[in-house]
Amino acid sequence: MELNQLTAHELLEKLKARQTTPKAILDSLHARIQKVEPKVKAYVRLDEPSLSKGIKIRKEELGGLPITIKDNICTEGLPTECCSKILQGFRPPYDATVINKLKESGAAIFPLKANMDEFAFGSSCENSYFGPTHNPWNLDCVPGGSSGGSAAAVASDEAIWALGSDTGGSIRQPASFCGVVGLKPTYGRVSRFGLIAFASSLDQIGPITKDVRDAAILTGIISGYDPLDSTSVNQGVPDYTKSLSGDIKGLKIGIPKEYFVAGLDAEVKIIIEEAVNKLKNLGAVTNQVSLPHTEYAVPVYYIIATAEASSNLARFDGVQYGYRAQSDNLIQMYKLTRAQGFGREAKRRIRLGTFVLSHGYYDAYYLLALKVRTLIKQDFDKVFRDFDCIVAPTSPTSAFKIGERAQDPLKMYLSDIYTISVNLAGIPAISVPCGFTKKGLPVGLQIMARPFNEEMLFRAAHTFEQNTDWHKLKPRL
């Protein structure tokens, strides 16, 4: 095995034992990128000349281990453009809190950033200004989105591990499509300071990794209170690796019946059912449960998320950073900058969000959505009174073909039907590889838990993973 194929915890052991060096790891990543990046296109701005310089390596906890970062997380001095024309040339004057924490832990921030749907608006990575990323398991398919670049880079061994962001499934769905592990932490667990905001009541930063142990290590590093993010919660961060006990005997697992209805691909359904049987064989107790408002999650999400996005993206006006269109009139300069700078999906969402917040429509749409959000949250509260976790598919299908859903926004929105409720309820959830379709595409198992109980996710996901071989398979590129 080459160094770039190893997990972070395997490399950390080698670094500790002085069996390898950060430079050797970087060299193996660069060699891999040269070989497969023309096919996968997980990274953006590959020709950025200033990035060919070496990385500063500090020798602490992470010993200079490189980590790949999604293009919407601010890295001081390194271009951060949200894969949008409107942020062309933007080099943040500061680091996001998660980047500071990683640097303090001794991680090396990989200078190439990962591709994504523009401003995280999408489920396929096709909405990137730089063009789509390809799924390492089948280059004709999407890697999922919006953190598709991060997931594809990890799956193709072009990255050791990565950070993504998840507003409605943007970490878990690409992790599922690419056969890797992805976690959306509890709302409030990880500081979003320096994450370019999409929908502030939903956004979370989280890990995309080759196995559950790496996800536990990375979550431990990036979690915690931050005075710069008033929604981060002042609560201690446990050592998540301690929850990797390998024991789920007696664990009470709820299987939501609303997640196994029309729309769920027949092959994915069988794979998920086999995974649930595996959990039973490992000692868990499973029961059917109900989350009755599941069918309303997607419409609620497309009101709340677009409303918040229309407000958050008001800052992109050609004045402080990024692209500016030329005009002698200020309002016209704003309008042309935004018309030329934003892509099609971004404009669609900003306009929809502006509409649902506008005079005369606020109560009928936005306020109504906030009320239904309460019902969705209450569904989870009820189930978690009796169950330790909820298990379901991450996405109703495996990766779809590039272009297949690009012309139909509604169809695209429905690929997040099983992940969106988790963001609306603020709870944590993980996607872990649980099988492959006959065509060789990965399928992910989603596990959800009570707020701030990431330990439950790591325990259940790790036990499942260690008793299966799905995470060991690599795409042939």
Partner: protein, 95 residues
């Protein structure tokens, strides 16, 4: 809920995104379809339900009122498409 062309023009103005003449028809169709999908929420009884605008039971998070160092002017201006001295520069606002 249908959405007429005047409303779309108004929303485009509020959103400060210039509307291309050929966009109007397509956008109207797309928004109509999405709003049709959203309309199913209207059949729920939410009279007694309180809205959730924020999922955490925290509010009024304030920092201590102490002076501290903030981003230096030069750094804040580094990314400006146009600047003059210590200021962002924009097209003339007052005629």
């Amino acid at each position: 809920m249908s959405i007429d062309k005047e409303t779309i023009k108004h929303v485009a103005h509020l959103a400060r995104i210039e509307l291309q003449p050929n966009e109007l028809e397509k956008l109207s169709g797309e928004l109509h379809e999405i709003l049709g999908f959203i309309d199913k929420l209207k059949y729920l009884n939410v009279e007694q339900v309180k809205p959730t605008s924020h999922i955490l039971p925290i509010s009024n998070i304030l920092r201590e009122d102490k002076p501290h160092v903030s981003l230096a002017t030069e750094k804040a201006l580094e990314n400006a498409p146009s600047k003059k001295g210590n200021f962002f520069s924009v097209p003339k606002i007052i005629e």
